[in-house]
């Protein structure tokens, strides 16, 4: 009985090992594509301007992933592609955040100007308003 169970377990182990080995064997084409599209999105978000370091890191990792794939090193290619993807995502989110923060600065400046103008208008009218307002009370 032990023999039968052991044999079954052994076969399971072999099968499992085979699946694992087979899974890592093909090149991670999909991961490379995902990384590439992440880089494209980052570029569209103007990462070249607002997150240059992060975007360059992503591009370098993607290049490394491609080089590893060319050498049929699937593990390294997969890892580099994954890393290139998150690097690109970071580049994109950083670029978006910086652009929004730039908009906030512009808006704050605009609000300051608007407040000053409103104050000038109201105080300008306020200086002349008391004169006519006091007359009818006489």
């Amino acid at each position: 009985m032990i023999t039968v169970n052991g044999l079954r377990n052994f076969l399971w182990c072999v099968t499992a090992f085979g699946i694992v080995a087979c899974a890592s064997a093909p090149m991670p084409v999909e991961k490379l594509a995902v990384a590439k599209s992440a880089i494209d999105r980052a570029e569209q978000a103007q990462a070249a301007q607002f997150a240059q370091v992060e975007l360059n890191t992503a591009r370098n990792k993607y290049a490394a992933a491609q080089a590893a794939a060319d050498k049929h090193d699937a593990d390294i290619a997969a890892r580099m592609a994954d890393q290139a993807e998150v690097d690109a995502q970071l580049a994109e989110s950083t670029a978006r955040a910086k652009q929004q923060e730039q908009l906030v600065e512009q808006m704050d400046a605009g609000l300051r100007d608007l407040r000053n103008e409103a104050q000038r208008n109201s105080s300008g009218a306020g200086a002349s308003a008391p004169q006519p307002q006091s007359q009818p009370q006489n």
Partner: protein, 297 residues
């Protein structure tokens, strides 16, 4: 036979696992950085609010890294890989949060902008309202002045119970009938005291005003006599007013004789109307215009 093989395999695997465990350090720079970065993002309320998905992913990646480190060592390629991914994902979470905070701020700023514009418009509206109120007040003041002038005669009449008052272009004219004097005389009768006191009191209350006392007779008797009599009677009334505290500068007396009759002089009733003293009270401090209408003897 097979049993022996299996046993050997098991032992070998265990030994390998033990060996690898013993030689592994528990930390690496990448893993430490991943823990720090993920913890930092987790402590940021903006990240938990705006980027919970990314934070969750970062934590799972860190768990993967910890698992791989425990199993194969912190410097293991898989552990390092997941540590790197966890770090980057935590940074992504922070950037997403920054972006969302900025967007919320912009939305709020738009509201602020609207409020500033609104209050500016309200200020303008209030100023316009104040201007309108001022214009209204000016109109009301003008109307009040007109009404005041129009009610002058009534007010005088009310104050001077025994005197007939009417508003003319020359001022308010008070007419004292022929009750003041006996026929042919220029001395005031006791009955004249009351209206004269009222007029004097009124003038003392209104020091800006001045008066012209004008005497008239009917057509009976010679013109010269009538003229002189009317002047004397006007003087008597003026003197009585001055004696009651009114500055002589404010009082002028004129006799017109038979001039400017009120009625025809053909019967006793109309002649009585013509025998009179008129007191013209100035409008404020304005000069009293002379008589222009013809009707002299």
């Amino acid at each position: 036979m097979k049993r022996t093989h299996l046993l050997a395999l098991a032992v070998a695997t265990t030994a390998l696992a033990l060996a690898s465990c013993e030689s592994t350090p528990k930390n690496s720079a990448l893993l430490t950085q991943a823990r720090d970065t993920v913890a930092q993002a987790g402590n940021d309320p903006n990240v938990t609010r705006y980027a919970p998905t990314e934070l969750d992913r970062a934590r799972k990646l860190l768990t993967n890294a910890e698992g791989a480190a425990k199993e194969k060592g912190a410097s293991n390629v898989t552990a390092s890989h997941y540590a790197y991914l966890a770090t980057q994902m935590a940074r992504i979470a922070e950037q997403r949060a920054h972006e969302q905070v900025a967007m919320a701020r912009i939305k709020q700023g738009e509201t602020e902008r609207q409020q500033i514009l609104l209050s500016a418009r309200e200020g303008e509206a209030e100023r316009a309202k104040a201007d309108a109120a001022q214009a209204r007040n000016e109109v009301q003041n003008a109307q009040a002045q007109i009404a005041q002038a129009q009610s002058e005669a009534q007010r005088l009449a009310a104050q001077l119970e025994d005197v007939q008052a009417s508003q003319t272009s020359r001022g308010t004219v008070l007419t004292l009938g022929d009750v003041l004097f006996d026929t042919g005389r220029a001395e005031l009768k006791p009955g004249a005291t009351r209206p004269i006191e009222q007029i004097a009191a009124f003038l003392n209350e209104h020091p800006e005003r001045h008066i012209q006392v004008e005497g008239f007779t009917d057509s009976q008797g010679p013109d010269d006599y009538n003229l002189e009599l009317s002047q004397k009677r006007a003087d008597a009334v003026a003197m009585a007013i001055i004696q009651r505290g009114v500055d002589a500068q404010r009082v002028r007396a004129l006799g017109y004789g038979e001039g400017f009759p009120k009625a025809s002089n053909t019967d006793a009733g109309s002649r009585q109307l013509n025998r009179r003293v008129e007191i013209v009270v100035s409008n404020g401090d304005q000069a009293i215009p002379g008589r222009t209408t013809a009707g002299s003897p």
